[in-house]
Every structure is written in structure tokens, then in C-alpha cells.
């Protein structure tokens, strides 16, 4: 009887605190999909099975892996971004971002937050401290760091802003409106996009990463917006307008293309597989050697993928 009452008290105490999310085994590799319609995160193991599912309590629109054990969640309408420890499922820190977070990018120890309402990019450390902030063009979104520089794509602008890693503005390039999807390939910066107005974008633009000179275009209709580098050095791009995946060589030649997914927004490399998230059909597609080898049902509206390759 006494044991029972103690248990009961413990249970009550547990219920009082902020409920932690299910923990994720640190030894497991995974690809995680953020399902924005349903508000869940599905963690998928190497065996291509859903190993854990998180029910989120806020309208998170994006996430990124800060370290192997630290996941950052943010939302456009939320004033806080949260850092969650995967091994415990506990929230470790919050970032006081303002409303309008469009994208977060983790590089080394730094966390960069782009804000599409304030038109700023902010630098936080992993404890949630704001270190620096800089003004950008209209609606900053895609970001990538390379060689001591941070490249910020302004989605509703015709400017790509380049900052130092501590957010000192360096230079600007001219780019098309509605650009999205950024990747560094050798000495080139590849940039996809939706295209402005009623004419959809069909190409990935190749820029000289040092000078910003436009080197060429890769035909990848329609609306290439996300790219990932595979183990073999090839680049896989997804065009959500035509639900097509393109395999592109380092030199920018389209090697192959295939239809996959329904309105896919995100593509990731997970081991030997290329993983594609079909936003409209709520499925992850596992692609290997140019073929869909597996489809996996996830929560509604898979919008982003993150991959944890390195296990402890």
C-alpha cells in the first residue's frame, strides 16, 4: 500500500513538469521528417522503419540538426525556437527569436536564424544566447556557410547576401526572385528556386562562389528547390513542380531524371539511399540506383528532412 502511494506521488510530480518527448537511441542513424500539416516528426531507422514519432505541441515549420544529439525546432509564427536533446527528449534551451523565422542553419557551434518579418539574420550559440544580428534583403531564407562565409538567399528579393560567420556583411550578388535551395559543389554555388510570378523556374543556376559570376544553368524543370550531395559525389535535385528527381554530375550535366513523390519539397542522402519527402502523398521515397526501392508512410505534410549519419 505504501509503495503504491509513493508511485502515485511520483506520477503526479512527473505530470506537473513539461512533458519530455520520447528519447532517440544515440547509436541509431536516422532520417527524420518534419510533417508540418500534422505537426509530428517521424524518425526513420536505417532499416527504413519508423522507429519513433514525436507529437509536437506548437506550429513548428522547420527543424535542423545542430549536433548529433541536438535538434532545433522553429516556427514562423513562434517567438521561441527550442533545442531538444535527442537522447533524452528534453528541451535544453530556447532561442528568443522573434516571430517570422523562415529558416535555421547550424554550422559548427553556430546557429543562424533567418527572420522573414524582421528581415534579419541572427546568430545564436548552443545555449540559446544571441551573439549577433544583421539586416538582410527582403525575406531571408536559404543559408549555407562555406569557407568562412555565410550565404543568405533573400526569397522575396533579387539579392543574395554574403556575411562573415559573425555576421559582418561582405557583399551582395544579384539573383532571381523566389530563389531557394542552395548547395556548394566545388568552387560553385548552386541555386534553385520557384520562379517569380506566374512563370515557374526551370533551372538551377551555377555561380562562381568567389565572384558570384553566373557560370551556367542546369535544366531541371520544374521548380528545383532542394539539393543533396550523394556518396558518389553526384548531386540530386528535387523539382517539386513536376515531382522529378534529377541526378546531376559535379560538372552540371543531368545524368538521369525520374518522377517520384507527390509535390516533394525535401531530398536528403541517407547512407546509400536518397530519401525524398512527398508532401502531398505523405510518403518518404527511398531511391537507390535510380529506382524507388521503398515507400514509407509518414505523418501528413512531410516538408523537411534531416539526417544523422554519424553514430556514437
Amino acid at each position: 500500500m505504501k509503495k503504491l502511494s509513493i508511485l502515485f506521488v511520483l506520477f503526479l510530480l512527473g505530470a506537473c513538469g513539461k512533458p519530455s518527448l520520447p528519447s532517440i537511441d544515440p547509436s541509431e542513424k536516422f532520417v527524420a521528417s518534419l510533417n508540418v500539416v500534422e505537426g509530428t516528426i517521424d524518425f526513420i531507422s536505417e532499416e527504413q522503419e519508423v522507429m519513433e514519432s514525436w507529437q509536437l505541441d506548437a506550429a513548428y515549420t522547420g527543424f535542423t540538426l545542430v549536433s548529433d544529439d541536438l535538434l532545433l525546432l522553429y516556427g514562423f509564427t513562434l517567438e521561441e525556437a527550442v533545442l531538444i536533446q535527442l537522447s533524452t527528449g528534453k528541451q535544453l534551451a530556447t532561442l528568443d527569436v522573434r516571430e517570422g523565422t523562415t529558416f535555421a542553419y547550424a554550422y559548427e557551434e553556430n546557429i543562424y536564424i533567418a527572420n522573414g518579418k524582421e528581415n534579419t539574420v541572427s546568430l545564436f550559440d548552443q545555449k540559446g544566447e544571441l551573439l549577433a544580428e544583421a539586416a538582410t534583403g527582403n525575406y531571408p531564407m536559404s543559408m549555407i556557410a562555406h569557407d568562412g562565409d555565410l550565404y543568405v538567399v533573400n526569397f522575396k528579393d533579387e539579392i543574395l547576401s554574403i556575411f562573415s560567420l559573425n555576421l559582418k556583411e561582405k557583399t551582395k550578388w544579384e539573383i532571381p526572385n523566389s530563389s531557394h535551395g542552395i548547395l556548394v559543389s566545388g568552387n560553385e554555388l548552386w541555386l534553385g528556386g520557384h520562379g517569380a510570378g506566374s512563370s515557374p523556374n526551370r533551372v538551377i543556376k551555377r555561380y562562381n562562389i568567389k565572384t558570384g559570376e553566373l557560370l551556367g544553368e542546369i535544366e531541371a524543370p520544374m521548380m528545383p528547390i532542394h539539393m543533396t550531395k550523394a556518396g558518389n559525389g553526384h548531386i540530386f535535385a528535387v523539382s517539386h513542380g513536376s515531382s522529378t528527381v534529377y541526378e546531376i554530375s559535379k560538372t552540371g550535366e543531368v545524368l538521369a531524371s525520374m518522377k517520384a513523390g507527390a509535390n516533394p519539397f525535401s531530398i536528403a542522402t541517407f547512407g546509400d539511399n536518397i530519401v525524398l519527402a512527398g508532401y502531398d502523398d505523405h510518403q518518404l521515397y527511398f531511391i537507390k540506383s535510380g529506382k524507388v526501392t521503398n515507400k514509407l508512410q509518414v505523418g501528413k505534410g512531410p516538408f523537411q528532412l534531416v539526417v544523422r549519419e554519424v553514430s556514437k
Partner: protein
């Protein structure tokens, strides 16, 4: 004060107008509704036909051209959209673009469901009715077939007929107003005739009758009116007749008295006749007195005096009455045979009952021959008694029997009142019996 016909007509007009207006509105609503439904059905058919020609994969330029060809043959707008942005494919991104379909619609379409919309569409800046059919390959929304018809077009089509409709309705209204007025007049005309007839009656024209052929309530009323007029006329005739009879009855004794009086005045009567003439004058005077008394009784009983009922020993009463009529009976040496149950007690008005018995007995004595016998008997049942008075007189012919209680009725018109009767005896008896709710039965053996 408005005439009843005008009031009813106004009411009818209000009803008719309300009904027509309501019907017009309802028809219009129904017409539009049906038209829109029909348009929708047509659009769906077209969309389904077009959808069937889609083989999957990318929506080709040929397909788009083929759908747009439809526009040439119909008044609906048909087009195919394959731009992912129009189809809300970029929705998770904050794109400043007014898409053709929304997120929820996209979900419906991906599931293969067609959409039907009715209302304002920002893209076309007008009210439209539209159908959207998805072009789905596996689970990819490759495009949509969008067909719409501006709702205003439908309204315009309806409004072109409005003038015609208003004209028809007005005409119908006028016709109905005229017909209802005429029929009302037809129905109510007999009432006016009746009114006129009633006024004539009031002015004393009792022979007024109305001629109404209708079989309705007004017809019934006219018939009742005619019956009433007949009754009044009969009553009037009776009254005249009565007065003439009364004056005649009075004139006879008066002329006797007057004649003898004048003869006395001029000393024309011989001495030995004088006693006889005096006797005659007294007799006629008595008759006049009796007649006037009887008339008084008739007048009184007509005003329906109150009946004061009380217990009355029948045998006792009969004996008293016989004492009263004995002098007349004795003149004719008529005897009475009485067989009355001594224990019978009636609950009647004493004076009236006695009067009835006297009148009947007087009548019996008057029409009995000398030395005859009058039998008075009674038979008592549970709640009533029958008093039977039987004489051995000359009797009466059956055809006269129903009339002998009428005032001054004479079986033999030539017969004078020499027998001393006033012609009112039985009439008074019948009346008194009537007011006491008993029956008088006269029979001939």
C-alpha cells in the same frame, strides 16, 4: 361604410396579389436554381469528358489546347492549369501569389474528388459557378480542368424575361380582379333583391315575393323570406276576416235592437206584442254582452297570460260546472250522466279549466236535441286523465271537424246565431287547453 362586396373583393385581391407575387418570386428562384444546377451538370459533363482524355503524366500543350478548343463551342470558360504555383503546390512557402485553388481544395483534388464552387472568385473578379476536375497521375496533381460560367450571365438571362413576366402577371391580375368582382356581384345580387323585398314588406306589401334560383345559402334565405311573407300574409288575412266576422256578428243584434227601438219610438208595436219584443231586445243585448266577453277572453288568452297551476279535485269541479250550465240544460230538459273518479286530482289552472269545461258543455247542450243525455266520464292513467264529454247531438261532418275550433266558424254558413252561440266557445276552449299544455280531441261517432 363600405359595401360587403367591396370588402370581400379587396380581401380577394390581396390574396390573389400575394399568391401571384409569391409565385413569381418562387418561380424566379427556382428558375435560377435549376438553371445553375443545369449549368453545373453540363460543366461536369464537359469536365468529365476532358478528364477521360488525360492519359497521365505531364499535362501536355496539346491537352491544354484541346480543352481550350471547347471555349469556341460553348458559353462556358474552359481551361486547364498545370502551373504548380496556381495549384498551391508552393503553399508551405510564403509566396505572394494568388493561387487558383486553395490548400484544402488541393487536398480534395489530390484525392481525386471534383470540386463545385459558387460565389465570388477573385481571379475573375465576378460571381461564378465553377467546377474543378483534377488531373491526377498516381498521387501527383499534374493539373486541373477549370470550367466556369459567370453567375451574372444567368441572372442576365433571367432578367430579359422579367418584363414579359411582369406584363403577363399584370394581365393575369387584372383578369382575376374583373372575374372576382363579377362573380361577387353575382353572388351578392340576391341579397340586394332581398333587402328591397324586406323594405316592401315593411311598407305593408305582404304579397311581395323574391325570385331566387341559386341553390346556396342566399337561395335558402330567399326561400325562408318567402315562407315568412306567406305566413305574414295569411295572418293578415285572418285578422281582416276576423274583424269582418266580428263586425258582422255584432251588427245583427245591434240592428235588431235598433229596429225594435225605432219601432217603439214610433209606437208601431202593438201592446200585446210588446212583452215579446222586450224579451227579444234583452236576449240580443245578452248575446252582445256574451260576445264581447268572449272576445275579451280571446284577446286575453292571445296575450298568453301566465298559467297559475294548482291542485284541483276533478269531480268537485265537474259538479260546480254542471251547476252553472244547469239552467240552459233544463230549458231543453237535458240530463247529465256523471261517472267521475272521485279521487282524481288535477294540477291545472282552476279558472281556465272551468272555462274550458263550461264552453264544451254549453256547446254540447246547444247542439243536443231535447230530452237527450250528456255523459261525462273520466279515465285516469298513471300521470294523466282523460275527461270524456259525449252528447247525443246531431254531430258534424268529418270535413268540418278540423275547423270547428276556428273563430266564428260555421258548419252551415247560412245558420244564424239563433241557437245563442257566439261562435267563439270552442275556439276559446281550444286556446285555453293549448296554454295549459293539454289536448283537446273532438270526435264524431
Amino acid at each position: 361604410m363600405k359595401k360587403l362586396s367591396v370588402k370581400i373583393w379587396m380581401l380577394l385581391l390581396v390574396f390573389i396579389t400575394t399568391t401571384i407575387v409569391f409565385l413569381v418570386i418562387f418561380t424566379n428562384f427556382l428558375y435560377e436554381e435549376l438553371y445553375v444546377q443545369h449549368t453545373e451538370a453540363t460543366m461536369k459533363e464537359v469536365a468529365e469528358n476532358l478528364q477521360r482524355t488525360y492519359d497521365g503524366g505531364v499535362v501536355t500543350d496539346d491537352f491544354i489546347k484541346q480543352t481550350e478548343d471547347y471555349n469556341r463551342f460553348s458559353d462556358m470558360e474552359v481551361f486547364t492549369v498545370r502551373n504548380p504555383r496556381e495549384l498551391s503546390a508552393c503553399l508551405p512557402f510564403d509566396i505572394d501569389y494568388d493561387t487558383l485553388i486553395g490548400a484544402e481544395e488541393r487536398v480534395e483534388l489530390i484525392n481525386g474528388n471534383a470540386l463545385t464552387k459558387r460565389g465570388y472568385e477573385k481571379r475573375f473578379d465576378r460571381e461564378v459557378v465553377s467546377v474543378i476536375y483534377p488531373l491526377v497521375d498516381e498521387n501527383r496533381l499534374e493539373g486541373i480542368i477549370y470550367i466556369y460560367v459567370p453567375l451574372t450571365k444567368i441572372a442576365e438571362m433571367a432578367s430579359s424575361d422579367v418584363l414579359f413576366l411582369i406584363a403577363i402577371v399584370s394581365l393575369l391580375l387584372i383578369c382575376l380582379a374583373y372575374i372576382s368582382l363579377k362573380s361577387l356581384q353575382r353572388v351578392l345580387k340576391p341579397l340586394a333583391i332581398l333587402n328591397e323585398a324586406a323594405l316592401d314588406m315593411a311598407a305593408g306589401k305582404y304579397d311581395t315575393r323574391v325570385k331566387v334560383e341559386s341553390q346556396d345559402e342566399v337561395g335558402d334565405l330567399a326561400q325562408s323570406f318567402n315562407q315568412m311573407a306567406t305566413s305574414i300574409q295569411q295572418e293578415d288575412d285572418k285578422k281582416r276576416n276576423f274583424l269582418s266576422v266580428v263586425s258582422h256578428e255584432l251588427r245583427t243584434p245591434i240592428s235588431y235592437i235598433k229596429g225594435y227601438g225605432e219601432a217603439f219610438e214610433q209606437n208601431l208595436i202593438p201592446e200585446e206584442k210588446k212583452a215579446e219584443i222586450y224579451n227579444l231586445i234583452v236576449r240580443e243585448a245578452n248575446r252582445m254582452q256574451k260576445l264581447t266577453n268572449d272576445l275579451l277572453t280571446v284577446a286575453r288568452s292571445e296575450t298568453l297570460e301566465e298559467v297559475e297551476t294548482g291542485p284541483l279535485v276533478l269531480a268537485e269541479t265537474i259538479r260546480e260546472v254542471i251547476q252553472l250550465v244547469k239552467p240552459i240544460a233544463n230549458e231543453k230538459e237535458i240530463t247529465f250522466a256523471i261517472s267521475i273518479d272521485e279521487e282524481t286530482i288535477l294540477c291545472v289552472d282552476e279558472q281556465k279549466t272551468k272555462q274550458v269545461l263550461i264552453n264544451i258543455l254549453e256547446n254540447a247542450i246547444r247542439y243536443s236535441s231535447n230530452m237527450s243525455k250528456i255523459v261525462i266520464s273520466n279515465k285516469t292513467m298513471k300521470k294523466e286523465t282523460i275527461i270524456q264529454i259525449t252528447d247525443e247531438g246531431c254531430g258534424i261532418e268529418k270535413e268540418h271537424l278540423p275547423h270547428i275550433t276556428e273563430r266564428f266558424y260555421r258548419v252551415n254558413k247560412a245558420r244564424s246565431r239563433s241557437d245563442g252561440g257566439t261562435g267563439l266557445g270552442l275556439s276559446i276552449a281550444a286556446q285555453l287547453v293549448d296554454v295549459q299544455m293539454v289536448n283537446l280531441l273532438l270526435k264524431v261517432k
